[in-house]
Symmetry: C2
Subunit: 384 residues, 2 copies
Amino acid sequence: MDTPPIDVSLLYDTGQVRVTGDGGGEMVLHPHWLRERSHEAADFDPVTRQRLFEPALLPADLRVVGMERSSEDELALTFSDGARCGFSLTAILREAGWLDDPETPPAPQPWGADLDAWPGADWAALEAPEVLRDMLAGFARSGFCIIRNTPTQPGTLESIAKFFGHLRDTNFGPIFDVITKPQPIDLAYTGLPLSAHADNPYRQPIPGIQMLHCLENGVEGGLSTLVDGFALAEALLAEAPELARVLERTTVRFRYESDDTILENRGPLIERDGDGRLVRVRFSSRVDFVPPLDPETLDMFYRGRSRMFELAADPRFEIRFRLDPGMLVMMDNHRLLHGRTGFDHAAARRHLQGCYIDHDGPDTMYRVLSRRWRDGEGSGREAA
Amino acid sequence: MDTPPIDVSLLYDTGQVRVTGDGGGEMVLHPHWLRERSHEAADFDPVTRQRLFEPALLPADLRVVGMERSSEDELALTFSDGARCGFSLTAILREAGWLDDPETPPAPQPWGADLDAWPGADWAALEAPEVLRDMLAGFARSGFCIIRNTPTQPGTLESIAKFFGHLRDTNFGPIFDVITKPQPIDLAYTGLPLSAHADNPYRQPIPGIQMLHCLENGVEGGLSTLVDGFALAEALLAEAPELARVLERTTVRFRYESDDTILENRGPLIERDGDGRLVRVRFSSRVDFVPPLDPETLDMFYRGRSRMFELAADPRFEIRFRLDPGMLVMMDNHRLLHGRTGFDHAAARRHLQGCYIDHDGPDTMYRVLSRRWRDGEGSGREAA
């Protein structure tokens, strides 16, 4: 990525603005694109930070007709409809992706078992904004973090969850207990091993982030496992692209049913956005229902899904750890798969509490902390 | 769609099952696809209704090697690994989409201003399951419904919302007031007209369903407006497919910012699933930020977005109504755009309360009611 100094020029024939970097990089900016980013008093409300004009009503043939650069960062543009707007070149280049934006959480980095720095912190240490921001950066990169030395009173999870975001209520309740029960109605409530899966792909919307909080754990075994679904998707794409493409293209129905609840949602096992970025992995092999496609496509779907299952169980991709009392794992349920090894629950108790929050929470927290941090750093440096 | 009688045959060479309808329709079913739907005691837990086996571990070359049809509906299949499983042919054909499934909510039907039956009911009448189910069917088809004669005490919305699903808390609070305020911090709190928009496309996840409940309305004007975003998307695709495709392909960033909150989410203005079905329209022209694409693509993006804006304001697509005290509108925020006409708030008050719930709620309710309805009808007919 280039950094300033950069050259800015007005292309008079098209009314566009060209930015040229030292390293030879070039970007041509559209007049509408620039105008939509005007922060002039007539265009932009400083309280709601929303546009005050309807951009659809700008002239279709809008052009930049004049340009002044009064400093390294300040650019004033005159448009063909007479408007004159000032811009921060740094802000424009951050938004365009030419410069890193310090407020944006880091991009996901797929990981395997050799991930060396597990994101996490002590609960008490999170009072320091820089520790919190650092842990949230790790969460954005790796899709999970581990918080240690939290209080172990039942229900504590609710206040911890609310620190990070809004609690998402479901028909399991806002907080649910994962504990061995004499007559289990779900495999989660036994000592059986659970293979790597994402939670509740049948809900609309799918829960964004899961938290699991350990209150008590006296059993042998029962290790928690995590696998990065994005790493599995990339591995499958590398070794068998034709299978990965079928998993990306096939819309699968996920379904949960009990006497008084029927939940359904649909989507592919591997989901990318329009720019090819991975945005979601759905993997829950007890509740997925593929449509009756032609047998050749289904052959490939089943081969791809089986390969994903093998990769998810491959020690190359899995990390394992014991959740001790006071430990809490927070994981991105659109990306990570989680499971546990089996344990004997006759001799001792293992009691976790779980809940869901939305992606909004940690994402907003990271952005706000980063803005304050940046502003703080700025004043600090200027004061020094 | 064909209905039984149908013919079922085993294709010995491939181990697949072929279904042939009276009308000549044909469907070939994959051995894995069938086996995954087994309800045998060893395969399926009747309490959790989940698979008891890991489907990824089925033999890759699994085949159906034997078939018996003991009645119109009962099919027993023997698989190459020795398993023998019974199936309901009706259940299989419903899942395959060959027969309608009475539990599945109706598919969306795009609508314009000439929509003649607006889904809705009196609050008291919703105590009758058939009235409730009928209204939810209309909600699924048209993306909104109107409930009349609800209580008008402030806060009533919370109990109404919880009847339909789980309340979604946001930084606006679980219930928010839409009322004219002396020093408005948002256009919503003025008497100004609001053009058609979806709420909060910058949240992760985007709120699924919005409810607006009228407590008081003495003003002239201030009519509520609704537009079907799916109808706009289909209209744009019909008149300018190249513009519609750019709106489908371009990942736009939506952003909300205040002193202590920064919310971002991304997605296209028109989103379809892998099967081409419309699943979401994002339209909120004050908070959308398109990436700096090449100027030719951006030209098309801006033309497409402007055309969507024109269509959204076109009386052909808009319905208008006055929200009187006790009226509540429930709308699918992934599909419908809403707005209001301007009004003079000096002379009288207009007070709405709003909240969000998830799609899960009404969808589950429709499915459960339909299952009971079908079971009830069954017993009724047998008893008669």
